[in-house]
Amino acid sequence: MPKCDHCSLHVPDSKAVVDEIKGEKRVFCCNGCRGIFRFISSEGLSDFYDRRESSWTPGPPDERPVEVSSFSDSMKKIDDGMEIDIVIDGIRCASCIWLIEKIMLRTEGVTSARVNYATHKAKLRWDPGVTDIANILARLKSIGYSPKPSTAGAHEEELKAQQRDLLIRFGTAAFFSMQLMLYSVALYAGYFQGIGEKTRSAFQIISLGLATPIMFYSGTPFIHGAVRGLRNLSFNMDVLIVTGAGSAYFYSIYQIATGGEVYFDTSAMIITLILLGRYIETGAKGRSSEVITRLLNLNPKEATVVREGGVRDYVSVPVSSIKADELVQIRPGERIPLDGIVTEGTSEVDESMLTGESKPVIKGPGSYVFCGTQNLYGSLVFRVKRTGEDTVLWQIIRTVENAQARRAPVQALADRIVGYFVPAVILISFSTFVFWFFYGRMLTPAVMNAVSVLVIACPCALGLATPLAVLIGTTRGASRGILIKGGDIIERAKNIDTVVLDKTGTITEGKPYLSHYTGIGISDDEALRIAVSLEELSEHSIAKAIVNTGGKVTPYRATGFTAHPGLGIRGEVNGKAVVIGSKTFIESQCALEEIEGALGGQLVSRIDKWVSSGATVVYLLHNGRMSGVFVISDKIRNDAKSAVGEMLQTGYDVIMITGDAYETAYAVAEAVGIGRDRVMARKSPVDKAEAVRKKQQEGRSVMMVGDGINDAPALVQADVGMAMGRATDIALESADMVLMRNNLGIIPDAINSSKKIYMVIKQNLFWAFIYNVIAVPLAVMGLLHPIIAAISMTLSSLSVVGNSMRLKRG
């Protein structure tokens, strides 16, 4: 079959559209692709076809016209024209972005076009006098992408704004702190070597000028937080920051008036370093919510409903108004709006966003289709089964959102310490005042000593202690192929004592292939041909293995396909009944003696051997007679045995979990060294999560390793979910850690490095506090040397930074 020159789909010769473009004969699957190819080449952008990645298949274009009116809400008027943010569906790689930007910039009237690589959002500006939105959208459409109005959640916008705000506040604080340091160093030098009275007060006043924007502009979020905290009578981190920075600032102003030493650099340092810590944290949060937004944007807003009442009626309605059991028509290139079962038509559907499988799946009557997946080639009608938030896509989004809402316990550790520390400091400060007031009978030194306790007690490295260790630790992990998604995961990962491994795709390679096949009473090839004819219509992984790895055969015409989930399939090939499935399924169709008779003793013992080696065996019943046996194997990863051995040796409880049958599971477990009593087979996705939960109730700390949508609930349930690199979007989203290389050997590594990071965090918190704690008694006694304050500040920050840097090595 020839391949479409635009979208790389295979097209039957009879349906191919042939055209001559620039002297070359081109083949297309449809007129839509032909139009796009012509357009791209007429614009001189044919380079696109060379630069795109080889696995790239855009699929035929969505034929539904763009609803221009739905974009009117998101248009904005700016100084020199109009601006809009739109989401572009169909972007697969960097070349798409290149193509879109080029085409847009060549549209007359468009003044700027930028597509964001991470979010697939385009920001377009144009001159309304020259062109309009309808023309721009038509141009986008004409190169095969579907523009959609941007439906960014308020949450995402808020996070973005928050991040930008923090960056500006931090940047401002950093620039002023740098300037401020200049004068502070001069003042410290002056303290030792002597400095002219006039110069000193000039420097001090300049310092005041530089410290003020840091205190009152950059520090605003802390001031708000502290006010909120005090209203609820809780001493949070913000209270500590504001007391520390604020007392240093106002104390210094007082010192200028009385001719003492100033501490403006202390107040500036506290705010700058803690802002940096917060900025690092929001950055990590923002990245994970982008994927959710992308998933949400995949949902079409409108669909064609088939109304049956004598004559068939096709009505376009909003997706939200469609109810279960209605019929929905899907044209080529459209995204499927809801979950359902196909009633008419056959087509290929790209389910890569759900399953990670890049090869399209053939769908016929009886197959399930899922919301958010993309129909490629033919037209389908399906009966809606699940709507709105019940669809698989929504369940996934919800799981992921819940997972993200979990609190970060490492931060809680710091907060817990602060909870005791702040009241203690305030108490000490107050006692200092009382002591000096009654002992010295003077107001001024009493106030001064009390304030210097406050100033010296605020650990300015505190805000950096956790984020910096997490940042350096996770960067180091990433370079070794372990992505850790957040600081909270580290605390949970250090306690792991049980590792649950999924079988398919984790212990095995997850690429089942047809390793043997035998015909009984018919030739081997004939048996394969019959099986392929029917299996072609199924989307099951076993069916795919038979069709894709069985070798080239010309299939017969198959009709009446029905799938029996978990058992097998049946249908008619060349008018004769064909059943393919597990032994149980076949036995329900045909007498047991007859099966055994047809197989013969020798074959039965070979089948036993295959099953005990971990392969799956399916049987072919043709015209009521046992006619063939197919063996589907999945290779066990080379490093699985050594990795499991290492984990067992370290003392982890290693458990294997799978949806497959016990025989297969035992065989694989044995091969990698997992005991039979540590195998859980025949588990549905929900069962897997339940099994993990049970372990947790026994007091275990569980890490789940998996790769597919089947594992997503268990990945979320586990204390730490780990996804393999080739995993689906959903698994990647649900997981806390991702193994970038498909190498099981790094699992123990990942746990160890979490332990190390956690230890560094604890040490950091210690170093952040210790200098201040030592200096507090000096302040109480009224002996606090300004230079000691400065040194302790710098030393605690340096200790935290240096200690975190240790994570870079080893």
Binding site: G44, R106, R114, N116, Y117, S142, G171, Q179
Partner: protein
């Protein structure tokens, strides 16, 4: 002594200038897409003109 004050004024001006440039960079979205620039720098400047042919798609422009 005067030279020190002049240097101080220069340092202040430079710092404020850097700060203003930073503010401009954040506000104009220079930090919004941290992923894209590494691909963009690989894009060649185009050679469109000779390829531009008035095909039958001129109505699209």
């Amino acid at each position: 002594m005067w030279s020190v004050f002049i240097l101080m004024v220069i340092a202040l001006c430079m710092g404020v200038a850097a700060w203003l440039i930073f503010l401009w960079a954040v506000k104009s979205g220079q930090y919004d897409d941290m992923e894209g620039p590494k691909y963009r720098m690989l894009d060649d400047d185009e050679k469109i003109k000779e390829d531009l042919k008035s095909d039958d798609d001129s109505h699209l422009k």
